[in-house]
Amino acid sequence: METLERDVPLSKTASERQIRKQVRGSRHDNTARFVFLLPTVLIILFLSIFPLVSSLLLSLTRVNFVRGGLDIKFIGLANYEKLLLGSGQRHFIGSLQAPSLFGGLCWLVVSGLMIFWFMRYVQSTGRSITGAFFHLLATILTIGMFWIVVATLGEKGVPGTFVVTLIFVFVGVFFQYIIGLGLALLLVQDLPGRRFFRVIFLLPMTITPVGIGFLFRMMTNTSVGPFAPIWVGLGLRDFSWAETGSGARTAVLIGDIWQWIPFMFIVLLAALEGVAHEQVEAARVDGANRLQLFQHIIVPQIAPVSMTVILIRLIEAFKIIDMPRLLTGGGPGTATESMALHAYNEWRSPNLGGSAALSYLLLFVVTFVAIMFVNIVRQRIGEHL
């Protein structure tokens, strides 16, 4: 017992020492971790946060080139006001007119869905005041943005660079995904020559965007391009892609879709090859047809990869500039001028403040669309999986 009593304090002291040692060690570890990480964190902060902050400040200024350097004048939100409400509104947002019947109906449906989405959140058990605020903000912004889309794409409306960008993003990514998935489904089959076609389908991605821009510029030239005899044969001698805004946008979209299908294709091919064979076999044994197999076995398994690849392309597509710049110069008018090209043109003016303001508006739109996409997709996938 004595031994025990004597032993207890002894062991207590030893364990305290050990704990103190561990704490000291842990403190050293923490310090070392901090010291080793700090340079990297500082570099990342410098490279990403500093440009963000400096361009934000630039967007609040007017910059003039004067003898000996730059004359920078703080003008508050004037650059944003000009784009959203002033002389730049027509260029950035477009000409808002009464939407077509179809456009109006689409807007009503979207508005209804957004309100339903908001109400469902408000009635849900996991609701919070912050969450409700952001859901309300997202609902208002989506309804507002969609109104701009339908009002500028109506018969008398003219889309600005904001709507043109949305068209390039959503139409482009939709077709890239559908065609990319189709090609991936084709080449995941045990077909002769599939290795050869895998390489061929990847080729557009290896060509520089400038090359693709000039290639499509040549191909869409109906007078002297390589396809001129085909256009003439089809009786489209006097047809021109560049004659109308929608024609020019279609030409740009075809080029962009062609360029980015390989990206969708290669990622989706990898996802399809990762689909569990056991489940496919089991479904076949249970008598599932091809459509049921695709809908209930393949789609759920490639959904996470699909959503990721769509998100990456959505974010990337917002920055489209090369194809419209090379193919049409943003014309005719502003029919193919994306927000990135608009910002570039402002920078070239040189209106550095206006260009920075446009870039920030682009950042806001991209972030908003990405967050909405992630939220909606997370809910949908969560429900299905």
Binding site: R62, N64, F65, V66, R67, G68, G69, L70, S87, R90, H91, S95, V158, N221, T222, S223, V224, R237, D238, F239, S240, W241, A242, E243, T244, G245, A248, R325, T328, G329, G330, G331, P332, G333, T334, A335, N345, W347, R348, S349, P350, N351
Partner: protein, 497 residues
């Protein structure tokens, strides 16, 4: 021993000779070891002579010339950012004379007055006074060496006009009439329908000058000093008036008689169409004349006529903004009742030297531009279509021999040079805009709005109002008084000695 002495004497002599030869070579090549980095326009025209003659200049002076090119739409900004940020990647720039105000004021370019004064070889007085004053001079100094002389004229197919019994157009209404009459006819014998008029209208190209060609005759009638861009009293833009709106309507109508994709055509495209016989009319700088005699690019050699820019029988009354008929008071310089106002579009390429480069590099850069501009080189280059250089020296228009030697017929050369001289000598010639941020007025606002108008996004009235509002905004942003002062100064540019 004697042999050794002889050998040593021979060796010493050889060493001396080598040293003397080296010294003489160094004297012959004053810029040996110097590299001149030149920024120019993608072209291929304009830059082609720099690349071709660079090695010759290096052999003469020892200076190595490196040429970097960017698209025309990026050139202004490339010069500005290079100089403003102190990057100084270039020692010399080939640029538009209209931008001098933006680059000379902050001190980016070296004053070349001293170089010019001590350089007999450049034959400064042989350069036509207008180009000497418009391209080269700013605020009393010489900042750019003329390499080219630019103004717009009309080119038409003489054979087609003769066959169809048509007269060359004198007014813009005539232009539309003949363009409509010839559109859809086979002009080059290939059995396919061709086009009445070809004008480059692609956005972010150089298309905005063409609408000014049409508008000029309506806007300016009282001589060069009146100006065609702003009211000299108020600095209000001269665009929201009946004359400019009429010009927009005419410009839009020309699209009906052009290629289907005219809105996406650049200058090289329309040139190619005209030179392959597919267009009856085009408006261009002097390049078409020299390109038309080049058998490699042209099928219309000897079939091209050149004309003074068409005009109008009505001009804008600046007090009311309405169109009034031409008479002795309203159109004192009218020819047969037609007010012509040829536009000195662009004015011509010039070479400027960076003030931030080392003195010996500045000297070498000046020497290179001087070499390019000297008659021995330039009088040959202006006759070659691929150079993009058009006549700007008195000797180039006075002597037909080099043009005939290049392939023109004597009659063709006289016609071509006659139209250029008629434009240059017109007392009502329009000086292109040359005030601070001209690039923003023209390449940004005018180019975008005209493109929107042609695409149907604006009516003519809306387009005119858009240009008016946006030009006013630019003027107010920079400073109305200083812009007015600069505009008045630009109109006072002497066209004589």
């Amino acid at each position: 021993m004697r042999n050794l002495r002889s050998f040593l004497a021979l060796a010493v002599m050889l060493v001396l000779m080598f040293c003397l030869f080296s010294l003489a070579s160094a004297q012959d090549q004053p810029y040996a070891g110097v590299t001149v980095r030149v920024l120019s326009f993608t072209g291929p025209q304009v830059t082609e002579p720099l690349l071709r003659r660079g090695p010759d200049f290096e052999a003469l002076t020892g200076a190595h010339v490196e040429v970097t090119t960017v698209p025309f739409s990026d050139l202004y900004q490339s010069i500005l950012t290079d100089q403003a940020t102190g990057t100084n990647s270039y020692d010399a720039f080939v640029l538009a004379p209209q931008w001098l105000a933006d680059f000379v004021t902050p001190g980016y370019f070296a004053d070349l007055s001293g170089h010019v004064a001590s350089d007999e070889a450049i034959q400064w007085d042989d350069i036509a006074p207008f180009f000497r004053n418009f391209i080269a001079s700013y605020a009393g100094g010489v900042y750019s060496i003329p390499l080219d002389g630019d103004l717009h004229t009309i080119y038409y197919r003489t054979d087609v006009f003769a066959d169809e019994g048509l007269e060359p157009p004198k007014t813009w209404e005539d232009y539309l009439t003949v363009a409509a009459a010839l559109n859809g006819k086979d002009l080059n014998g290939d059995g396919e329908a061709d086009y009445g008029s070809c004008i480059p209208k692609r956005r972010a190209g150089q298309g905005y000058w063409w609408v000014l060609d049409v508008a000029g005759g309506y806007l300016q009638s009282q001589g060069t000093g009146q100006g065609a861009f702003f009211d000299t009293q108020t600095m209000n833009p001269l665009v929201n008036n009946a004359g400019f709106i009429r010009a927009l309507e005419i410009y839009d109508e020309t699209t009906q008689y052009g290629p289907p994709d005219e809105l996406n055509l650049e200058l090289n495209d329309t040139r190619s169409l005209f030179l392959t016989g597919r267009c009856a009319l085009t408006i261009d700088w002097g390049d078409i004349g020299s390109l038309s005699i080049d058998p490699d690019s042209s099928t219309v050699a000897g079939k091209v006529g050149t004309l003074l820019m068409p005009g109008s029988t009505e001009v804008v009354d600046r007090a009311t903004g309405a169109l009034v008929p031409c008479d002795e008071t309203t159109c004192p310089y009218a020819i047969d009742g037609v007010n012509h106002a040829p536009l000195a579009a662009f004015g011509g390429w010039g070479g400027a030297v960076s003030a931030a480069s080392a003195p010996e590099v500045q000297d070498a850069a000046y020497a290179f531009f001087s070499y390019m501009s000297q008659p021995a080189q330039s009088n040959v280059d202006v006759t070659m279509g691929k150079t993009g250089y058009n006549p700007y020296r008195l000797s180039q228009t006075a002597d037909l021999a080099p043009w005939v030697a290049a392939g023109f017929t004597e009659e063709g050369a006289a016609d071509y040079l006659g139209a250029i001289e008629a434009s240059l000598n017109s007392p009502n010639m329009i000086l292109d805009l040359s005030i601070p941020q001209t690039q923003r007025y023209q390449q940004v606002v005018l180019d975008t709005v005209i493109s929107q108008f042609l695409a149907g996004e604006f009516t003519a009235e809306e387009a005119a109002q858009q240009i008016y509002d946006q030009w006013q905004e630019v003027t107010d942003e920079i400073g109305r008084d200083s812009q007015q002062e600069a505009y008045l100064a630009s109109l006072r540019i002497s066209r004589d000695d």
